[in-house]
């Protein structure tokens, strides 16, 4: 396995399948009366959360404890804006405490990458969400959930709806699902799609209703409150009408299609309560699967040395390789 899990963009298909298969095995074991595995006894996993996220932190905490690891929850106050405790100083502290793995959530894109590559720490780094960049374990648990319901990824169509621009979940899902062979469609108003999205390995549509009938899974992204005042769309009502999933739209989905949401939901905004609580919704299952997938990730990163998900190569990058524009004389 690579030393770190920083993004799904650099996961190979074999890596991804290994994580999902391992998670499946772990889920089977978890169904037994004794849920705890001795695998990571004596190892220390630090949950380093610069942003509050009780659900993700708890999920990682349960995952690590079920593998018998020692868990330290380190809530660092101070975001990039407030200039509180710096990422570097925190990393040095954790290094001194002998952390084997650091699970990091941070508001700055690239924070996990920085932690892994800046030379501040020798721990394994798991990205638990960095700014608007990636949230790889969320995408892995989404893929895990889809595979269980849809039986695989080839020829399966997944529609991701909403604020792609600011969504780390969307980025991680697009890369991972494309790697696994699914066809992804992003459905969003043009203002909530990033510049350059046409080069992503997916289709893009401004029209949710056009995408719905062909969807095997539909994933509704959360619309954060600050976007509502940011001029990205006129009103909450108009957004809901054009891009929200209500019972009427859900009825147009194929019979076996599932409804997903990474949480936390804004009921009545991107998803109606009736849809969230319907039998097509796998939202609660996603939460349970999150523990299995995170156990698999920690297990593969920390147990055994050079085994598993690939090599370290390709991680380090020559920073000056790209200094000459292509085609230009030196």
């Amino acid at each position: 396995m690579k030393r770190h899990l920083l993004s799904t963009a650099d996961l190979s298909r074999d890596d991804a399948v290994l994580i999902l298969d391992t998670a499946e095995e772990i889920a089977r074991l978890a169904a037994r009366p004794i849920k705890k595995l001795p695998t990571l006894r004596g190892r220390t996993v630090v949950n380093l959360f610069f942003e509050d996220s009780t659900r993700t932190r708890t999920s990682f905490e349960v995952a690590a404890k079920r593998l018998s690891a020692d868990v330290i929850n380190f809530s660092a106050k101070g975001s990039s804006v407030s200039k509180g405790e710096s990422l570097k100083d925190t990393a040095l502290t954790l290094e001194a405490m002998g952390a084997d793995a650091v699970v990091v959530r941070h508001s700055a894109s690239g924070a996990a990458y920085r932690l892994a590559t800046a030379g501040w720490s020798s721990s394994h780094v798991v990205n638990a969400g960095d700014g608007t960049h990636e949230h790889p374990t969320q995408a892995l648990l989404d893929a895990f959930t889809m595979r269980r319901h849809l039986g695989g990824f080839e020829e399966r169509r997944v529609t991701v709806v909403g604020d792609v621009l600011h969504s780390r979940v969307a980025r991680s899902n697009v890369h991972l699902l494309a790697t696994l062979g699914a066809r992804v469609t992003l459905a969003a108003p043009p203002t909530l799609l990033p510049v350059g999205v046409e080069s992503w390995p997916c289709d893009v549509s401004y029209d949710l209703d056009a995408a719905i009938p062909g969807s095997d899974a539909i994933m509704m992204l959360r619309v954060q409150r600050e976007r509502m005042n940011g001029g990205f769309f006129p009103t909450q009502r108009e957004y809901s009408r054009r891009y929200g999933l209500d019972a009427q739209r859900m009825a147009k989905l194929p019979d076996k299609a599932i409804v997903m949401h990474p949480g936390p939901m804004v009921r009545g905004m991107e998803i109606s309560a009736a849809v969230a609580d319907s039998d097509r919704s796998v939202i609660v299952e996603q939460v349970a699967n999150g523990v299995s997938v995170r156990m698999a990730v920690l297990y593969l990163l920390l147990s055994g040395s050079e085994s598993a998900i690939g090599s370290d190569e390709g991680q380090a990058q020559n920073q000056h390789q790209n200094t000459e524009p292509k085609g230009a004389a030196a």
Binding site: S80, L87, S109, V195, T323, P325, A330
Partner: protein
């Protein structure tokens, strides 16, 4: 009595070997000279002689951020880079928006003595973009300010920009605009494009620069006053300036060395050493900037030397300060991208790094002069065959935020003379 230097066999502006006699602050003789008693002879065979370089855009950080740079350390770096004059940007603390502050910076420059320091005055009080600073008082001060800029901030209010352009006509000043439409760049972290979308870093779109440049060109034409565009970074900006010049509008522009050599791909490392404003752009932009500089659309190379202490770069990207060092590597970057590539000759380098910036800064009575008898002895000797590997710990700047750490660059400044006095000899501070 000051030392007299006899420079032997220097290739003046890349031409045939010549001798230059530097005495009493001027070039006292030139040509093929015999032995001159009482002189220090410098064998300049294989070296290029250029007029001392002039930087239009330097952040010396004093007063206020002496932990990043001081006038003394910054001008040491300038001399080592071959500069005999720098224009010190106004975004200090306090802001250089009064005669008192600009005179302080000017005096600190004189005391340090490594190169001439010409303070830039703020356009608006406190760089706030609300009302004009006392531009006339700064122009009339001992610092004799002619370049006015809110650099770091854009004078985004169209009416205020119009008034600034009009007002500086009274003392033949120039408004140097940091072209960045603020509403289009809120929270911007890197060039907006495919890569910013993938990295999840908020985009700084080319249009935010180009929209301001287009507006300001029209304002300069309307007011018949001089506009200078700082650190042009996009292909579209080059096109706009090319158009303005074709119409005869009074517009000049500069490009930084880093925008001539580095591209946005470096942001993939999330290493904020590559975070700068305006951001590193695409390879196509770099190519357009090189062509614009070569054909004279862009008048000058200006470093935007922006020192920052380590803690402002040793962090996550969003938290990091914007800017990179430039004074000690500028000439090497220009050699690599423009001279060694065949786009420009050394005479063009002299034009873009000395003659034209001196004219824009209204210091061309003292700097950017021909290397001829009777002219001020502001001279730099460059070894174009030298190679060096950039070592951030060996720089004269107080800060170490060079993006070229570990890179091999061509060329080395061997000697710099300010009015006949060596500020650098054998590549070291004299």
């Amino acid at each position: 009595m000051s030392t007299t230097y006899l420079i032997k066999n220097a290739s003046v502006l890349g031409g045939d070997p010549q001798d230059l006699l530097l005495r009493d602050g001027i070039i006292a003789d030139a040509g093929s000279l015999g032995p001159v008693p009482g002189t220090v002879v410098i064998d300049a065979g294989g070296l290029i002689a250029l007029p001392g370089l002039v930087d239009l855009h330097t952040h010396l950080r004093e007063p206020g951020r002496e932990d990043a740079e001081t006038v003394d350390t910054g001008t040491r770096a300038a001399a080592l880079g071959g500069f005999t004059a720098v224009h010190a940007m106004a975004n200090t603390d306090p802001v250089a928006d009064t005669a008192g502050v600009v005179e302080q910076v000017w005096r600190l420059g004189r005391e340090a003595g490594h190169c001439d320091v010409f303070p830039v005055g703020a356009v608006t009080v406190g760089l706030k973009g609300e009302r004009l600073a006392e531009l006339g008082a700064m122009a009339d001060s001992a610092a004799r300010v002619r370049v006015f800029s809110d650099d770091g901030k854009c004078v985004s209010d169209a009416n205020l920009m119009r008034r600034a352009l009009e007002y500086v006509k009274a003392f033949d000043g120039v408004v140097a605009q940091h072209a960045q439409e603020p509403r289009l760049t809120e929270g911007a972290q890197m060039n907006e494009g495919e890569l910013s979308g993938l990295l999840g870093l908020a985009g700084w779109p080319a249009v935010a620069e180009e929209a301001i440049i287009a507006r300001d060109i029209l304002l300069a034409a309307h007011t018949k006053s001089r506009l200078h565009v700082c650190h042009v970074s996009t292909a579209g900006s080059v096109e706009l300036i090319r158009w303005a010049k074709s119409k005869g509008h009074p517009v000049t522009a500069e490009v930084t060395p880093h925008h001539l050599i580095l591209t946005e791909d470096l942001a993939k490392s999330y290493d904020p050493i590559y975070k700068v404003n305006p951001p590193l752009r695409s390879a196509a932009d770099v190519q357009a900037l090189r062509e614009g500089l070569a054909d004279g659309t862009i008048d000058a190379v200006a470093t935007d030397h922006a020192p920052h202490p380590q803690e402002d770069k040793d962090c996550e990207w969003a938290a990091a300060a914007m800017g990179m060092l430039g004074l000690e590597t500028a000439l090497s970057v220009v050699q690599q991208t423009m001279v060694d590539s065949g786009l420009m000759g050394w005479a063009d380098v002299a034009d873009r790094m000395s003659v034209r910036p001196a004219a824009i800064g209204q210091v061309d009575d003292r700097h950017g002069r021909p290397l001829a008898i009777g002219e001020p002895a502001n001279v730099v000797l460059v070894d174009p065959k030298a190679k060096r590997t950039v070592d951030r710990t060996a720089l004269a700047s107080l800060s170490q935020n060079t993006p070229y750490q570990g890179m091999e660059l061509p060329g080395a400044v061997v000697a710099t003379f300010l009015r006949g006095t060596a500020t650098v000899l054998d590549g070291k501070l004299a």
